[in-house]
């Protein structure tokens, strides 16, 4: 219930955000922060129950006919994510208040952010699979708005669209995967997938489900080769990067993998895919991050690297790996949000994010420097910070493996060394050293309370839970790890485990990281210039994007030429092909040719109609064409008379006469017929139209042979007099049984009359 109210509250406030902002002005962020904060309090209140092994479920009917309900399911994993989303979210709202202070569209920004928050909460707490997908897509859409917040900037728009298209592509795949999962498990709830009654790995669809779900998760969590959108998404304002691209949205993919681990995991293909892509992303992000000189880019690439590591850990799939993934996820959320916010503060107060210029800000921004320093130390894995634990457990997870242990350990150590040096670059380098005020675009000064509150609180939290993991983290992470593993997992976390391989690796990491940090200037000034990749994945994306646009243009030009003739040819050709196909299904050319049973009058009628048609086609005189058309119409009327339809025949004769009169009225306003098209065109059109006619003839012959559905005409004949008191069955059908059709017909004729009236008026009005 509490989750539903929180989500609803966020959405309602999102709707009114711009107006509230007009009244609350510089208190808006503080005010809005109360909503996620109360959600946070709610999640905390669930902690004892969930720690005792329980789950919270709540459901409201939505589309019962489609098995889709607003149902929520909170276990340890949802709780952990919910706490991160609401806790960090509160500080982000406050930070955004300061960061975008006096920005014209700040109210709108709050609106997007609240929608995103609601969507994220929905993703992590949905029980219904369709509901999960709806929230998943909502995160993509709201993040598009957030990344493209500086919409005056063309580059920001392009990058926002890129994020939307890449994650949207994954969203479509996920939808297909979720539907297949729902059909395969015959239940549309997450809880049913988790209770062990359905084993996806044994289902025939498992490979498809796996690929589709992984596509969704990998695009969202920016796994290689979809990683390129994440660094580009830094085009958004700092609060967006701090929230979406460190703590929440990119973690949605990881969350999905963790969520579905009990249902889909524990197979060879799952392990290989997650470990493989995760490891490549991890190394790719770390190595690319080394070359960056923009504060936010450095953080973006480290995030990429961490996402890769989390995916890899989930792929390993042992209890230890689950534990370390969750420890890492929590620690990373805390310090990365801090670092993104302090990077935003530095940018905001000093005017630059270029690490080549930055340095010595500690003197003017002491509080920001304090928070950033704590976060960087946690991130780089110094004991007793929480980040140390994260790293330590990654090594533990790796060293307990039988296969692949060396590969995973080497990759992890290498990544951690680089990540550590990057952490120091982002959290220590800008604040220490000599302050050269003249280098800065504007005179640097301390950020306001709204902008350092979040970083300080989050960074101190990182320190505290690292010092007292048993008391603060175990009750939270144990149920989460159990939820991911699918069976109870005990997390006994402590700082000191004695001398062993993980500790040794941690020490190696610290030494390597410090060395790499010391070499940072050489990397920026020398290596960055020298290393030029032959192509970037962003280029590849652009090539695909432009390709799509070109194909769309080409086929639009082809189909939407603007020439009526071409539209008609396409339409009739398509009809021809489809009708021929259908005919072939029903046994090909019909065999009921029977020309000789027709009597003299029937032959005469046919000859009259067909010869007048030839006249219409051949003649160059408008008058002759019209008269021939009249003859055709009357010929059709004779057919009606011959086959027992006097009413129809009378109508046909009246309408045909009226039509002729109308034609006469218009005909002399137009020029005489000319031979507009060439001989070749006419021959082609002749062959084309004769083949259309031929196919229709075959269709009619075939239709006469078939008796697909029983006719309802007998009923009309029975009821006509008894029920409707009419002896002319056709009339009774028109005015009684199918009176609504007749009403529709009258309306159509009325509208046509109005249209003609308007056209004639328009014609007259502009002439005079």
């Amino acid at each position: 219930m509490g989750v539903f109210i929180t989500i609803l509250g966020l959405l309602v406030f999102a709707f009114f955000a711009p107006w509230i902002h007009r009244i609350a002005k510089s208190y808006t962020g503080w005010l809005f922060a109360l909503i996620p904060a109360s959600g946070f309090a709610y999640f905390i209140s669930l902690l004892p129950a969930i720690n005792a092994g329980g789950v919270v479920q709540y459901s409201i009917e939505w589309f019962p006919a489609l098995d889709t309900s607003l149902s929520f399911y909170i276990d340890g994993l949802s709780l952990l994510m919910g706490l991160l989303i609401t806790g960090i979210g509160s500080f982000i709202l406050i930070f955004a208040q300061g960061y975008l202070h006096k920005h014209m569209l700040q109210g709108r920004f709050f609106s997007y952010l609240l929608v995103f928050m609601a969507a994220m909460l929905g993703v992590v707490t949905s029980d219904n699979l369709i509901l999960l997908f709806v929230f998943w897509e909502l995160t993509s859409i709201s993040s598009y708005m957030l990344i493209g917040y500086y919409h005056g900037n063309e580059d920001a728009r392009r990058k926002a669209l890129q994020a939307l298209l890449v994650t949207g592509l994954g969203g479509v795949a996920l939808l297909a995967g979720v539907i297949m999962l729902g059909l395969a498990s015959e239940s549309w709830t997450v809880s049913a997938l988790l209770n062990g009654s359905f084993s996806a790995a044994e289902h025939a669809w498992y490979p498809y489900i796996l690929v589709l779900v992984l596509l969704g998760a990998f695009t969202k969590s920016a796994q290689f080769p979809f990683h390129f959108w994440l660094p580009n998404a830094m085009a958004g304002p700092a609060p967006v990067s701090a929230y979406l691209h460190s703590a929440t949205m990119v973690k949605a993919g990881v969350f999905l993998l963790a969520r579905l681990n009990p249902a889909l995991g524990d197979t060879m293909s799952w392990t290989m895919a997650l470990c493989g892509f995760g490891m490549v992303t991890m190394l790719w992000g770390a190595i690319n991050g080394l070359l960056q000189t923009d504060l936010k880019s450095i953080l973006a690439y480290t995030t990429l690297s961490v996402l890769g590591m989390l995916t890899m850990l989930l792929g390993i799939g042992t209890d230890y790996a689950m534990k370390s993934a969750l420890i890492f996820l929590l620690g990373h959320a805390l310090y990365k949000a801090t670092l993104f916010m302090t990077a935003g503060s530095v940018d905001h107060e000093s005017g630059t994010r270029d690490v080549k210029i930055l340095g010595g800000l500690r003197a003017v921004m002491p509080i920001t420097a304090f928070a950033a320093g704590l976060a960087a130390l946690s991130k780089s894995g110094f004991p007793p910070f929480f980040g140390f634990l994260g790293k330590e457990y990654v090594y533990k997870a790796g060293s307990y493996l039988d296969q692949f242990a060396p590969i995973i350990l080497i990759a992890a150590v290498l990544t951690n060394i680089i990540l550590m040096s990057l952490a120091l670059k982002a959290g220590v380098h800008p604040y220490w050293g000599k302050l050269n005020k003249e280098n800065y675009p504007k005179s640097p000064h301390e950020a306001p309370l709204s902008m350092y509150l979040g970083p300080v609180v989050l960074a101190v939290t990182g320190l505290l839970i690292g010092m007292f993991p048993g008391q603060l983290v175990t009750p939270l992470l144990s149920p989460a790890a159990s939820a991911v593993a699918g069976h109870p997992v005990d997390i006994g976390i402590s700082l000191w485990h004695g001398f062993n391989l993980p500790l040794l690796l941690s020490i190696l990491t610290l030494a390597g990281g410090l060395t790499l940090f010391a070499l940072r200037r050489r990397i920026w000034y020398e290596w960055s210039q020298r290393i030029k990749p032959p192509f970037t994945f962003d280029d590849l994306y652009m090539a695909c994007f432009n390709g799509f646009v070109a194909v769309a243009k080409w086929q639009t030009r082809l189909l939407q030429s603007g020439y009526l003739r071409r539209y008609l040819l396409i339409t009739f050709t398509a009809s021809l092909v489809l009708i021929s196909y259908k005919l072939s299904l029903f046994g090909g050319i019909p065999d009921n040719f029977d020309l000789w049973s027709a009597n003299f009058i029937e032959w005469a009628t046919a000859i009259i109609i067909i010869s007048s048609l030839i006249v219409i086609v051949k003649t160059q005189s408008r008058m002759t064409a019209l008269l021939a058309m009249g003859v055709t119409g009357f010929g059709v009327a004779i057919v009606f008379i011959l086959y027992g339809a006097p009413d129809v025949a009378i109508t046909q004769i009246l309408v045909e006469t009226l039509t002729l009169v109308l034609f006469m009225l218009v005909i002399y306003r137009l020029p005489a017929f000319r031979k507009l098209s060439g001989v070749k065109t006419r021959i082609f059109d002749g062959i084309f139209s004769v083949s259309v006619g031929l196919i229709i003839t075959l269709l009619v012959l075939k239709a006469q042979n078939l008796d697909i559905a029983p006719t309802i005409s007998g009923q009309f004949g029975e009821w006509s007099y008894l029920e409707a008191k009419g002896r002319n069955v056709v009339n009774v059908i028109l005015v009684d049984f199918r009176a609504l059709d007749t009403l529709g017909e009258i309306v159509v004729v009325g509208i046509a009359a109005l249209g003609i009236f308007a056209l004639v008026l328009k014609g007259k009005g502009e002439n005079s």
């Binding site: 029937e602 067909i610 057919v639 006097p646 218009v666 004949g717 028109l734």
Partner: protein, 115 residues
Amino acid sequence: MSTLIAIIIGALVAAGVYCLLRRSLMKLVIGIALLGQAVNLLVFSANGLKSANPPLIEASAKTLAEGTADPLPQALVLTAIVIGFGLISFSLALMGVTYQKTGHDDIDALTNTDT
């Protein structure tokens, strides 16, 4: 007759399509009219043409006797004829105004939306 009807319908369609493909506005409207006739006949004969007796209930009977024509296609065709008339009259008015405004009766000259 059923084979003959099929041929008549095919001929109407062929002539209609041929007229639609011409560049003259006038031929276009004639094409629409011919296609309309073809479809009316198609509906009329869809359930086979079985009898020449109109579907009227005899004064002495309470229900329709066996061996009369099918009343349902007739009702449908009646509606279709009238709607077809509405369509043709509107097309004629549109054609007249189009020529008056643009000075063209050549459809290929009407690829511009700004006149």
